[in-house]
């Protein structure tokens, strides 16, 4: 067989001494090992599940869930399906993770910059904060915030009232909020129109600026156009699109307004305060990693302190900061699964209930893992795109 011969015996070099063949052989061996491990793992789950009567398959997802969920972004009812209950859990995780990421970033940047402050007190205070919260396990911090802080606020009848009004009690924080009316939809069309106008205005003003060389204040005028159109729209739609919703004490609890439950608030506090301490260190190290010479050179060229920061230091430190920052966002999202311990119905908590009520451990765990994986990969993709955008471009 000439093919086999040519495959095994290349020119005059014996097979066992041909570097290309040896390399290929190493590749083949690793493929076999990887494939065998995967086959073994999948097979193990299938046979073990079969032996132990653990049902597989996702057919149960359409059945009625039957259990209540404490809080939900969308409307949920016990008669909804398991699938919908899981979706409610996913949304709850996204809610705490997204708000948490924004808040942790703001707090982390402030702390990181404070740490570098020339003001002794500010820098030491930031350092103390970081050392404390970075070094205490998150689970313990969550228990502290929930049982040690938020549940110790006064009972709902004696709620603390802040101007606004904002009511704080061990039933959570209730604040005045806007509720939408029937004209909210039409008003949104005005908002959209304002947005389009603003973008068009900014674009044309920039072109004028490029042509004439005179500043046309494109950003300022674009924002002004947007605000103006929104305000005109507010008065032109049938009635006010947003109404004031004030929380009022009912028989058991406050009704109406904006409500943050103690479970959500404690989880958010815990995650933000913990993650911010890591972000602060990332920001500090990112700024310090920009060579001193860069700053000195910028100053020597006559750039102001603000210009130096904006045009020289930040663009360079961002490149260093962003990859570890994304990994902190992933951590925050994954850590939110500790919600289970303080009663916030996140993805993992709801998943555990479904496992118990439906008796399907393997499929539900697969769904939980897939959901976290999907979230993490999404962050990674967005983060990497942004990182590409700010990356140093070789010319």
């Amino acid at each position: 067989m000439p093919l086999l011969r040519s495959m095994l015996w290349h020119s005059d070099i014996p097979l066992w001494r041909d570097a290309r063949v040896l390399r290929a052989f190493a590749q083949i061996v690793s493929v076999i090992i990887v494939v065998s491990i995967v086959v073994f793992a999948v097979n193990n789950v299938l046979t073990a599940a079969n032996d132990r009567n653990l049902a597989l398959g996702f057919d149960f997802l359409g059945e009625e869930a039957g259990f209540p969920i404490a809080e939900s972004v969308v409307k949920y009812h016990e008669a909804n399906s398991f699938r919908y209950a899981f979706y409610v859990g996913v949304l709850n995780t996204l809610k705490v993770a997204l708000i948490g990421i924004v808040a942790a970033t703001v707090l982390g940047v402030v702390l990181g910059v404070s740490r570098l402050s020339t003001n002794w007190l500010v820098s030491k205070a930031a350092g103390l904060y970081i050392e404390i919260f970075r070094n205490i396990p998150l689970l313990i911090q969550l228990f502290f915030w929930y049982f040690g802080v938020f549940l110790l606020f006064p009972a709902v009848e004696n709620a603390i009232e802040w101007p606004g009004p904002i009511f704080i009690s061990n039933r959570g924080i209730f604040a005045v909020w806007a509720s939408t009316t029937s004209s909210f939809g039409p008003w949104m069309l005005w908002i959209l129109g304002g947005l389009i106008l603003a973008v068009v205005a900014r674009f044309s003003l920039l072109r004028i600026e490029a042509r004439t060389g005179n500043s046309t204040h494109p950003n300022l005028l674009a924002i002004a156009a947007f605000v103006l159109v929104s305000i005109i729209g507010w008065f032109l739609v049938a009635d006010a699109p947003l109404a004031k919703s004030t929380p009022e004490l009912g028989r058991f609890n406050f009704q109406g307004g904006l409500n943050f439950t103690p479970e959500f608030t404690a989880l958010l506090f815990g995650l933000v305060i913990y993650t911010a301490s890591f972000i602060a260190e990332i920001v500090r190290s990112g700024i310090q990693a920009v060579e001193k010479g860069q700053v000195e050179a910028a100053r020597a060229l006559g750039l102001s302190e603000y210009q130096t920061l904006k045009m020289v230091v930040i663009p360079q430190s961002l490149r260093i900061i962003i990859p570890p920052l994304i990994s902190q966002y992933l951590n925050l999202t994954k850590n939110s699964s500790l919600a289970l311990t303080i009663g916030y119905p996140d993805l993992f908590g709801v998943g555990r209930i479904i496992i118990n009520q439906a008796g399907r451990a393997v499929p539900v765990f697969a769904m939980i893992m897939a959901a976290y994986l999907a979230m993490s990969l999404t962050y990674a993709v967005i983060g990497n795109l942004y990182n590409k955008h700010v990356r140093f471009v070789d010319r």
Partner: protein, 354 residues
């Protein structure tokens, strides 16, 4: 040349690898899970002790006593089985698990018995394992602060209720509110201690669970008088020890031990008088204690006199109940109510030992 050929070769070998792995794995069945009759008893005998899934955080049913040892009604049921199998109730390991771990644990046969106040439902019976014999008839109720003046569960429209996740309680709660057209807000925890901690801190207007559990928990509050259990019972909660599916002999063995405890109370055989009762002239007692005849012990793999060991170790059903929940009980007092013997007007009944 090279690359294409290498890819071809690799693909070929990988395919052979997958095929080989797929074929060789069809018939391996040696992961230790028990699936045939009698295998569980052999496993327990080989191991030299019985493994029970229980709890350590519920006074009366499963808790740690002053010496840190496992104690409680549910624990005594496990001790009875250990005494029946080994003649020694101490050959027992209790694994504490949470409510939502119960199903997967017994489904997978990780433990020999699940005795952790488990409610018997048809769904669980079809999925979790085999339910042996109802050892405690319970029902779900509500606990509320006394000073609020609630008189009925129907006063709770719009209330926030603290509840344990992964329980029938959680489902009954939703059903009850839905049935009565009331709105419900919940706070759900996996850990029972967190549920009652949050309730006591005032996070919820009410908490709900099996009434026996509420009574147990109330006894541990800083001020038990400040909380009351509402009269309504909103569900049937037959608490039953569970064994894994697939081993009829083990299922029958555990049931027989449970029947023995109940029959012993009926026949007046107690921890104190069991030695004397061996030579009783009541034929039912003589048969139960192995003095005369046989009621299936040997088929199940038990010794003829296993009942003596069981009663010596834990006493009869009534003694177990009184030890933990009776008037002189260690934890708290709960009237026997439905849990009286059938002959006293209760629901506790067992097939005859013959």
């Amino acid at each position: 040349m090279g690359l294409k050929r290498i890819v071809l070769l690799m693909g070929l070998i990988a395919m052979v690898g997958i095929l080989a792995a797929a074929c060789s794995s069809d018939d391996d069945d040696d992961n230790g899970a028990v699936s045939s009759a009698g295998a569980r008893l052999d496993l327990v005998m080989d191991r030299g002790n019985l493994i029970c899934a229980g709890r350590t955080d519920l006074p009366g049913f499963g808790f740690l006593d002053a010496n840190g040892a496992n104690a409680g009604f549910d624990i005594d049921l496990c001790r009875a089985v250990a005494a029946a199998v080994f003649g020694d109730a101490s050959k027992l390991t209790i694994i504490p698990i949470s409510a939502s771990e119960r199903g997967p644990t017994i489904q997978a046969g990780e433990v020999d018995i699940l005795s952790r106040n488990v409610t018997w439902t048809t769904t669980r019976d079809s999925q979790w394992g085999n339910y042996t014999n109802v050892m405690f008839y319970d029902g779900q109720g509500f606990m509320v602060p006394t000073d609020k003046g609630y008189t009925s569960a129907l006063d709770l429209d719009g209330a926030t209720v603290c509840v344990t996740s992964g329980t029938t309680t959680e489902l009954n709660l939703a059903d009850f509110f839905r049935q009565n057209g009331m709105t419900l807000e919940t706070v759900v925890f996996e850990d029972t201690a967190s549920v009652y901690g949050a309730y006591e801190a005032g996070r919820c207007d009410a908490t709900t669970s099996d009434k026996s559990q509420l009574a147990a928990i109330r006894s541990g509050f800083a001020d038990p008088g400040a909380h009351m259990i509402l009269a309504e019972t909103i569900s049937k909660e037959p608490l039953t020890p569970v064994v894994a599916h697939g081993d009829d002999q083990w299922f029958d063995l555990v049931k027989t031990v449970m029947y023995t405890l109940i029959n012993a109370e009926e026949l007046g055989v107690t921890q104190a008088n069991v030695d004397a009762m061996v030579s009783s002239d009541n034929i039912k007692i003589r048969r139960m204690l192995g003095t005369e005849g046989e009621f299936g012990q040997s088929t199940l793999g038990l010794s003829a006199t296993f009942a003596v060991d069981v009663i010596k170790a834990v006493g009869n059903y009534g003694e177990i109940y009184d030890r933990h929940m009776g008037p002189n009980g260690g934890s708290f007092t709960l009237p026997r109510g439905d849990n009286k013997l059938w002959s006293d007007g209760g629901l506790i009944y067992a097939p005859p030992l013959k």
